[in-house]
Amino acid sequence: MQTTLEPTKVPTSDISVPTSQKLRIVIVGHVDHGKSTLIGRLFHDTNSLPEGKVEQIRKASELEGMEFEFAFLLDALLEEQAQNITIDTTQLPFRTEKREYVIIDAPGHKEFLKNMVTGAASADAAILLIDANEGIQEQSKRHAYLLSLLGIRQIVVAVNKMDLVGYRQERFEKVRSDYTEFLGKLGIVPQHFVPISAKLGLNITKASPELEWHKGPAILEALEQFQISAPPDDLPLRFVLQDIYRFDERRILAGRIETGSLQVGQEIVFWPDGKSSRVKSIEEWNAPEPPTSALVGESVAITLEEQIFVERGDIGSAPDHGPAEGREIQASLFWLQNDPLPLNVPFTLKLGTQSVEARLVEITRVLDSSTLEPLAGNPGIIHKNEVADVRIRARKPIAFDRHDRISETGRFVIVTGKRIGGGGIIREADYQDEMRLAGAAENLTWTVSPVTRELRAENFGHRGAVLWLTGLSGSGKSTLATGLDYHLHRRGIFSYILDGDNLRHGLCANLGFSAEDRSENIRRAGETARLMAEAGLVVICSLISPFRADRENVRKICHRDGIPFGEVFINAPLDVCEARDPRGLYKRARAGEIKEFTGISSPYEAPLAPELELRTAEHTLENTLLDLTHFAVELSRIPEPQIAEELARGAGI
C-alpha cells in the first residue's frame, strides 16, 4: 500500500461511460396514504437497495420494538421512524434498465407543505397517491392544486392499499371517477390510474393476479412512460445576470441562460432598463478555445462590446421578444409560512436574481386549496397553506414574463424576515407597455388629501434630493450630469439637471463673475434646486461653485427643509482640465480674454468632506458614472421607517 504516485497524474482509459439525464419524480398525497412505503417497495423490488440494508433496518426496528416498515427505508430521521410520518422530502437516485431516476418522497402532513413544495418544484412528473379505503382527502386536493401551480403536467394516480378493500374494482372505479372530476377543474388529466398495494408489493413492478381486472400498466411501467421535461430551447433568450466580476482587466457578466441561446456578436438588451450592447466574448476557464455560443441551461460568463450600466438582477434578451417590465404584477401565490401575509406590508420579492421591495396592493380572492372554493368576504390577508390571486406593486420596475409563456422568469418567491414564505406565478404581463404607473385607486387620494412630501415620494417611488456636482471647468461635470440624468431616467427615477451655464441665460442673467455675484448665483441655483427637490425630483446641479462657503450655504438650505443633499467633488487636476479644454476657455483665459477664470485667475476651494469624490482623470467615464449613479440611487431611496409610517397612514384612509 505504500507506493507513492505523482499526485497530478490521473490514470485514464478509453472506455467511456455514457451519461444520461435523470427523470425526477415526486410522490405526493395525503398523510399516511403510503408514499414512503411505495418508494421503499419500489427500491426493494427493483433490487436497488445497498446490500444488507433491509436486514439492517429489520434488526434496528426489532431493537426499537417497532414492526418493520418499508417506509423506514425512506424515513431517515429517527423522529420520522418513531412517528411513522415523513417530515421532510428525501431525494434518492434510482435506476432501471431503461434510465436513471431521482425519486422524491414528499411529506403528506399539512404541517409540512413547505417541504412538499420544496420536493415537488423540481420534479418532471408526479405520482399522486390515494388510499383506496379513505378516498380523496384534504392533501389529495391541495397537493394536486400545487402541482398545477408548479407547472407539473405529467401525472399518474396510484390508488393504494387495495388489500384493505378486498381488491374490489368498484372501489377503485369510485376513487377514479371522483378524483378525475376534481383534477379536471385544475386542468390535470392523469396519464393512468393504477390500483396497487405498496405494502404487499402488488402492481409495483409487474401485474398482480389479485388485481388482474386492471388492464393498464403497473407502477414501474407507468414511470417508464414519463418524458424528461424538454429544455425550453425554442423560447426567446432570457439571460439572468447574477454578478459582474472585475478580477482582472475584464468586466465579466456572470449569469445563466434560462431560455433561448446566445451567440458572440449578437445584440443583447438588458431589462428593465432596456440598455443594449453586443456580446464580445464568452469566457470559459480551461476551455481549449473560447466558445462562440451558449445554450439554454448553461451558466456562462460574457463580456460586452460597449460598457453599459448593467447590474445583478437584469434580464438580457434579444432586441425583439424582450420581457415585460413594470412595477405591478398580477399573480397567483401560495403561502407556506406561519405568519400570514397582509395587504400593504413590505416584503422582498425575488424573481430570477432580481430582489426588490414590494407589497400586496390587492387580494382579488383567496382560495381554500382543499376545495378550490373562494373564501367568503374580502380577507385582506393570506394565511398559511392558502392560495390567492393578488396584485403586487414593486418599489422599482422589474422585468418579468407571463408564467405560461416563460416559466423561468414568470415565477417568484416572497421573502419576509429572512426566510422564503411563499411563491407565485405571474398571470398577466403587458409586453407592449413601457412602464405601468400606480393604479387609479391610489391616485384618488391625491385630490382629497394634502400631498405631503412622503406621499409624493410614494408616488415617485423615490424621494427628492439634491446632488451638487462641483469642480473645475473641464473636470467632467456636465458629461457626468447628463449621463446620470439618463441612467436615472432609465431606472424610473425622476430627475432634472440645473446647469450653471444654462441658469446664467435666464434666472441669473443679471449676474457677473465677481465673488459677490458668484455667491448670489449659487444661492439662486441652490434655492431652485431645493424647490424642485421639494416637488419630488432628483436635482442634478452642475456648477463650478468654487467657494466652500457658498456650497455650505446650499447644504444648509436643503438640510433645513429635510432635503437630502450630496456634494460630489468632480476632481481632475488643473493641467488635465486645461489639456481637455472642451470649449477653448482655458486658452482664452490664459490669453487674458476671460477675467476671473476659476483655476487661472480666480481660486477654486476644493471640498473638505464631500459625500462623494470622483477622480475623472484616473477612471473611465463608465466606471465613474456607475459610482455616481449608485450614489444618487441611494440618496433618493425612501428610508425604511418612512415606508412603515406611510403605509400605516395609507391603511387608515
Binding site: 499526485p7 497530478t8 445497498p50 434518492l92 413544495v117 454578478d243 478580477f247
Partner: protein, 278 residues
C-alpha cells in the same frame, strides 16, 4: 446539454449566488474527490480566480500523500489556503484535560473534537458567514433531506425538522445573528457523476483512490478518504477512473462503508450531522 453539463451549470449557479450573497465565505477542502471537484467548479464559476479562502481541517491523522497533494494543489490553483488544527485537543491543554486521539478515544469523539470543534474554532476566529461544502444527497439518507443553502445555528446545529423551503433556485441567503449557511453545490451529484466528471475534465485527485497491491497480494483502493486510523481500503482492482465507474455500477455497498466512525453506533451520521459535522 448532457447530465454532467446540467450538474455543472447548476453548481456554478449556486457558487455564484453564494459569492454574491455572503461577505465572508469560505470553502472547506478535504482534498477528497468531491472537494477537488468543488475547486474545479469554483475555477469555472469565477473564470480562473477562486475569490474565497479554502480551509483544510487538519486532524493530524492525515495520510502523508494527502499532505503532499495539499501543497501541490495550493500552488497549482493559487489557493488562499487556511490550515486549521485543534491544537488544544491534540495537546490536551486549554479546556482539554487529556489529549484527544484515536489511540485513546472512540472515532465519534475524535471526529467531533478534531473536525467539528476545529471548524467551530476557525469559524469563531474568522467570522465566516457561509461555508461551501461538498456533500451529496446520495451519501446517506439524512443527507437526502438537505437543501442547497442550509442554515446552521450558533451551535452549528442543523434543524432538519424545520428547514426553510427552497425552490425555483431561490435560496435562503439571509442569516440571523450567530447563524451561518452551508452552501452545498454538489447535492444533486451522485458518486458516479463525480467520477464521470473527474474523468471528463481530467481533474487531478490523490492517487489513493486507485487500486494498488497490498501486503497480502490482493489489490486495494480507497473509496472515501478520512483519517488513516479509521479509513480502510476496499478490495478492488480498479486502477483508473473508468474501472472505478464500472465497479460502482455493480457494487451495492455504501460509499462510507470503509469509515469506522459511521457504523460505530446506530444513526451516528444523523447525530454527527445535527451536531455540525459535514
Amino acid at each position: 446539454m448532457d447530465h454532467l453539463d446540467q450538474l455543472e451549470a447548476q453548481s456554478v449557479y449556486i457558487l455564484r449566488e453564494a459569492y454574491h450573497s455572503f461577505s465572508n465565505l469560505c470553502m472547506p477542502w478535504s482534498m477528497g474527490k468531491d472537494s477537488n471537484v468543488l475547486i474545479w467548479l469554483s475555477k469555472k464559476a469565477f473564470c480562473g480566480k477562486i475569490p474565497y479562502p479554502v480551509l483544510h481541517i487538519d486532524t493530524t491523522y492525515e495520510f502523508p500523500e494527502m499532505l503532499e497533494f495539499r501543497e501541490w494543489a495550493r500552488k497549482e490553483y493559487d489557493l488562499d489556503l487556511i490550515v486549521k488544527i485543534n491544537e488544544d485537543a491534540r495537546a490536551g491543554r486549554g479546556t482539554y484535560t487529556q489529549s484527544v486521539g484515536y489511540e485513546t478515544h472512540d472515532p465519534v469523539t475524535v471526529t467531533h473534537e478534531l473536525k467539528t470543534v476545529a471548524l467551530q474554532q476557525v469559524m469563531a476566529e474568522r467570522k465566516f458567514d457561509a461555508l461551501i461544502t461538498g456533500i451529496r444527497r446520495d451519501e446517506d439518507p439524512t443527507r437526502a433531506k438537505e437543501r442547497y443553502f442550509s442554515p446552521r445555528n450558533a451551535e452549528f446545529e442543523w434543524d432538519y425538522k424545520d428547514q426553510p423551503p427552497e425552490f425555483w433556485n431561490q435560496f435562503t441567503t439571509a442569516i440571523e445573528p450567530g447563524e451561518h449557511i452551508r452552501v452545498q453545490p454538489l447535492l444533486d451529484w451522485a458518486e458516479v457523476d463525480i467520477w464521470r466528471y473527474i474523468e471528463r475534465e481530467k481533474i487531478p485527485i490523490p492517487t489513493m483512490y486507485f487500486a494498488r497491491p497490498g501486503d497480502d497480494g490482493k489489490k486495494y483502493r480507497f473509496r472515501s478518504l478520512g483519517c488513516w486510523p479509521i479509513t480502510k481500503p476496499v478490495e478492488s482492482t480498479a486502477s483508473n477512473i473508468s474501472e472505478i465507474i464500472a465497479e460502482l455500477l455493480v457494487t451495492k455497498t455504501s460509499e462510507r462503508a470503509g469509515r469506522a466512525q459511521d457504523h460505530h453506533e446506530r444513526n451516528a451520521m444523523q447525530k454527527l450531522r445535527a451536531k455540525g459535522f459535514m
